[in-house]
């Protein structure tokens, strides 16, 4: 795609790792400032999309094959729902994080971290999937 321009390549190589780090920061800092799993997932996905735009979607596809994005998509939701089930098995109501640990506060914290991570995973998976599908469609059309 835009592989010819070396400025773009260098700049984006420099940018992508910080963006991913920032995504992680947003993911785990949601307790204190604005942010959380959803925003983190979107930012993570946009780092991926940037990579795909600069280095070509083929390379990006190699990094995240279809089964991986599908797994991300499904596992995030399963993690979230699973946390609820675990809380239920531990004797609480569904999604009652206080049950996850002997100390309700720690339990709440653990629960929130886990489900936010689930949210992030599914959202990133969903965004990447949708992006790749739209792209795949574009190429299929070009080939015809």
């Amino acid at each position: 795609m835009l592989t010819q321009t070396s400025i773009l390549r260098v700049v984006s190589k420099l940018l992508i790792p910080p963006i991913m780090l920032f995504a992680l920061y947003v993911q785990f800092h949601g307790d204190f400032g604005p942010g959380g799993g959803f925003q983190a997932g979107v930012i993570f996905a946009s780092a991926f999309i940037l990579y795909a735009l600069i280095f070509g979607v083929d390379n990006a596809r190699k990094a995240t094959p279809a089964w991986l994005t599908r797994l991300m998509l499904a596992s995030g939701l399963l993690l979230y729902a699973g946390v609820g089930v675990v809380a239920m098995l531990l004797g609480g109501d569904y999604l009652d994080y206080s049950m996850l640990s002997s100390d309700p506060h720690a339990g709440q914290h653990l629960g929130i971290t886990l489900i936010e991570f689930g949210v992030g995973t599914t959202v990133a998976g969903a965004m990447i999937t949708i992006f790749l599908i739209f792209d795949g469609r574009l190429r299929a059309e070009k080939e015809d």
């Binding site: 959380g36 930012i43 489900i115 936010e116 999937t129 599908i133 469609r137 059309e141």
Partner: protein, 170 residues
């Protein structure tokens, strides 16, 4: 914002329309910050201005860039919209004024969250506490919606195996 919205109705170049709708989202995000909703602003900027715009551009690339001439004023829809708008304005007449601290909305559930979430849940960001814990089930639903949309897009325009094989041969 109103100007952006008006231009959206007028313009025929779909590319411009999509860009403007991104700008509209960004403006909304600015408004959210002004109204103290930092989390929402963050999301709106990332999603409304970012993801939706990319998706729309992708769709444009797959379809077409211009729409046909359209009558600007279509009496029937205009009438429906006017009635709906008038009803809404009628509804606002009994609303508490903007920013009023004594409005009922601030004294029931919202108040409770502000007072109790720190000790009951923990995180200083109340929005996170409410989103993930008090109304955690809504968020589970939200994740399910995203999941549905992604799987739905796969079902609608995902590559089918047959087509892939054809592509490999050529």
């Amino acid at each position: 914002m109103a100007f952006t919205a008006y231009s959206l109705v007028r313009l025929h170049n779909l590319f411009a329309v999509v860009m403007l709708s991104g700008i509209y989202s960004l403006l909304a995000a600015v408004l959210y910050v002004v109204m103290d909703a930092v989390d929402v602003a963050f999301t709106e900027a990332a999603v409304g201005a970012g993801i939706s715009t990319i998706l729309m551009l992708g769709t444009l690339a797959l379809t077409t860039r211009m729409d046909k001439e359209n009558k600007l004023i279509d009496p029937v829809p205009l009438a429906i919209v006017t009635i709906t708008g008038a009803l809404l304005i009628y509804g606002t007449l009994d609303m508490p004024p903007y920013g009023d601290p004594s409005a009922p909305v601030h004294h029931h559930v919202g108040q409770y969250y502000i007072e109790k979430s720190g000790e009951q849940v923990g995180p200083p960001n109340i929005v996170t506490s409410v989103l993930a814990s008090y109304r955690g089930y809504d968020t589970l639903g939200e994740v399910t919606v995203i999941f549905t949309a992604a799987a739905g897009v796969m079902a609608l325009i995902g590559r089918s195996r047959r087509r892939k094989k054809k592509g490999d041969k050529t």
